[in-house]
Amino acid sequence: MRRVYPNKDFCIGCHICELACLTAHSESKDLIIAVREEQASGLRPCKAVYEKGPVCVSLSCRHCENPSCVTACISGALYKDEETGRTMYDERQCVGCWSCLMACPFGAIRRNQAKGKIIKCDLCEGRDKPACVEACPNAALSYEDR
């Protein structure tokens, strides 16, 4: 399946991917409103850029073959979509127990504090290319089948 792969050699640590993700998952689809208003009510990007010295890398859900988060999910909110191979999430079922968050070895799941539910990458369902990949100014993110 196609996944988003980060390339630490060319990630310049701008964090624009995070902003793109935030906007793509916002109600308003407007960067300024998403950051100022929707973020205040709990919206978070599904990506996080980690930095150490000159090295930076942008991480999000790996959509693992056998995802630990799905195994750990007590409510069935996380599941594997057989057709697309994506690890999907049904917000209505999430009870905010944070089991998945503890189970994910990549730290790719985050909290929406306001809603008491999780936030995770859905590979931008409905878009040809995930927003982060499209926005990265240095092609440090690629969306491909490896």
Partner: protein, 507 residues
């Protein structure tokens, strides 16, 4: 901020941030290598210090809300035609530092650009135009010495060339990427140039920094340079390329050597250049073994011997007053290619006074060199290449009409990958990841993206050159070379027209 030397507060730029739009995302903070933007703890928002801005526009280009504008500082000194702000700021700086003024990139001085005073001809009615979309249009160019005459022999398989032609560089476009050393620009861009040159069927030039081991595979599209410092020069290096270039002079700083500051010499640069990590790499102005044309001849033939006469040898000089006589000597010393680099050529660092006041426009030098070699009947012994401030395809085609075989491009290539000519290359903090080896900054050039942009640039110019050639009723770049009848001067005086060897428009 208040306690800086007063002169440092005469800043060139001001940062205009639209508070209505700014989301305090700190992209600008992370992108500005001069730390002009910062997180202001007291005010809990992003803030800036105008005095640190060098006008590179990186923050403006990356701000995701488009709320930044970098403007020229509107505060102006009293009008004075002699004491312009540029000179006043030079004086303030020298009062502070007591040092030589340094500049990056080519001269921005307002000297005439002769390309802009030359117009191309176009066919009308007779000798009609050629449609480049339907007719083949030849841009292929061979650089190297051509024989005085060609002998053909008849064989049972038809006529064959009897004359042995010397080694040539084959170019699919009459353009090459000019010498920019590994160190002055980083590995990512060297790789990008190598990739683009290979894709385009042209060549790039290593400059005087040696050739990184992983780039040897692009050797067929590489010119390896031998400069006064002999950095990175060894037998395998000489044999790796499609040609060898001896750099005698550089247009941006004629008569001046090179200096790569120790900070730019990391592990990889050190290995490639064969100098210790962190030590300054100083290339002297003269080659300490060349004091005459005879000495140059020895070096040319030493290099030819070392490479078994397989590749052409080129000699690059800066455009200076007696360039024509020098070029004649160079050709007679056995060079297969002569490169003339005009004073608008770029550099990582040059003394400002030298950059702006030494050397001559390359257009004049080119016309004179071409004339002289023709008068002496040796024009075919070597190809002529011009370098230094070629901005567009029209500059290229005019250079060819004026006598060049091909043109080197460098600053144009850097601009295509982002350079905004901020002129701070010597600081090692290039915000576009070009003139820097800092790990955090050099990543800003992804070789894949850069190679694509360089390839696009040359292809685009190639299309435009074909269009212009077609418009002149020519179907090959060969038919334009030195064809000054296709050029006319506008607003030039008689001396200038005489030097250029072109008629005034209307004649």
């Amino acid at each position: 901020m208040l306690f800086k030397p007063i002169s440092q507060n005469f800043n060139d730029f001001v940062i205009d941030r639209d508070k209505e739009r700014c989301i305090n995302c700190e992209v600008c903070v992370r992108q500005c290598s001069y730390e002009a933007h910062f997180w202001d703890d007291a005010r809990q928002c992003v803030n800036h210090d105008n005095t640190k801005c060098v006008g590179c526009h990186r923050c403006e280009a990356l701000c995701p809300t488009g709320c930044l504008t970098i403007k020229k500082n509107p505060a102006d000194f009293r009008d004075n035609a002699l004491w312009t702000p540029t000179y006043m700021k030079y004086l303030y700086k020298q009062g502070d530092t007591g040092g030589i003024l340094l500049s990056g990139m080519g001269s921005p001085s307002a000297k005439p650009i002769y390309w802009d005073n030359l117009q191309l001809d176009a066919s009308q009615v007779t000798n009609p135009s050629i449609d480049p979309l339907r007719e083949p249009m030849e841009l292929r160019t061979y650089l190297g010495s051509k024989p005085d005459k060609v002998e053909i022999e008849q064989t049972p398989d038809g006529p064959k060339l009897k004359t042995k032609i010397g080694p040539q560089i084959k170019l699919e476009y009459p353009m090459m990427f000019s010498a920019m050393s590994f160190g002055s620009i980083n590995f990512n861009l060297h790789k990008a140039m190598a990739m683009a040159a290979t894709e385009l069927g042209i060549v790039y030039n290593t400059g005087e920094g040696g050739l990184h081991p992983t780039l040897y595979k692009y050797g067929a599209n590489t010119i390896v340079q031998v400069a006064s410092g002999r950095f990175g020069v060894h037998k395998d290096y000489l044999n790796a390329g499609a040609a060898i270039e001896i750099k005698v002079g550089q247009g941006a700083k004629p008569g001046i050597g090179g200096h790569l500051p120790g900070e730019k010499i990391d592990e990889e640069v050190s290995k490639t250049r064969m100098v210790p990590v962190g030590s300054d790499a100083i290339s002297p102005a003269p080659h300490h073994d060349i004091y005459s044309i005879e000495d140059l001849l020895q070096l040319i033939y030493a290099l030819k011997e070392a490479t078994e006469y397989r590749v052409p040898v080129s000699v690059k000089i800066a455009a200076v007053h007696n360039a024509a006589a020098i070029a004649s000597g160079i050709v007679r010393a056995g060079a297969d290619i002569v490169v003339i680099d005009g004073f608008r050529g770029g550099t990582g660092a040059a003394p400002t006074m030298i950059r702006d006041n030494v050397g001559i426009p390359v257009e004049l030098a080119l016309a004179q060199v071409d004339n002289r070699l023709r008068d002496e009947g040796i024009r075919n012994w070597a190809s002529l290449v011009v370098a230094g401030g070629t901005r567009c395809s029209a500059d290229v085609i005019k250079a060819i009409a004026l006598g060049a075989d091909a043109v080197y491009i460098a600053t144009a290539a850097l601009v295509a990958v982002g350079c905004t000519l901020c002129g701070r290359c010597y600081t090692g903090k290039c915000p576009w990841g070009i003139a820097t080896n800092e790990a955090r900054l050099k990543k800003r050039q992804n070789p894949e993206i850069a190679a694509k942009r360089l390839t696009n640039l040359v292809k685009a110019w190639g299309h435009e050159i074909q269009e212009m050639l077609g418009g002149m009723g020519l179907n090959s770049i060969e038919s334009l070379r030195g064809n000054r009848d296709k050029l006319r001067g506008i607003g030039l005086n008689e001396v200038e027209l005489d030097i250029l060897g072109v008629k005034h428009a209307g004649r």
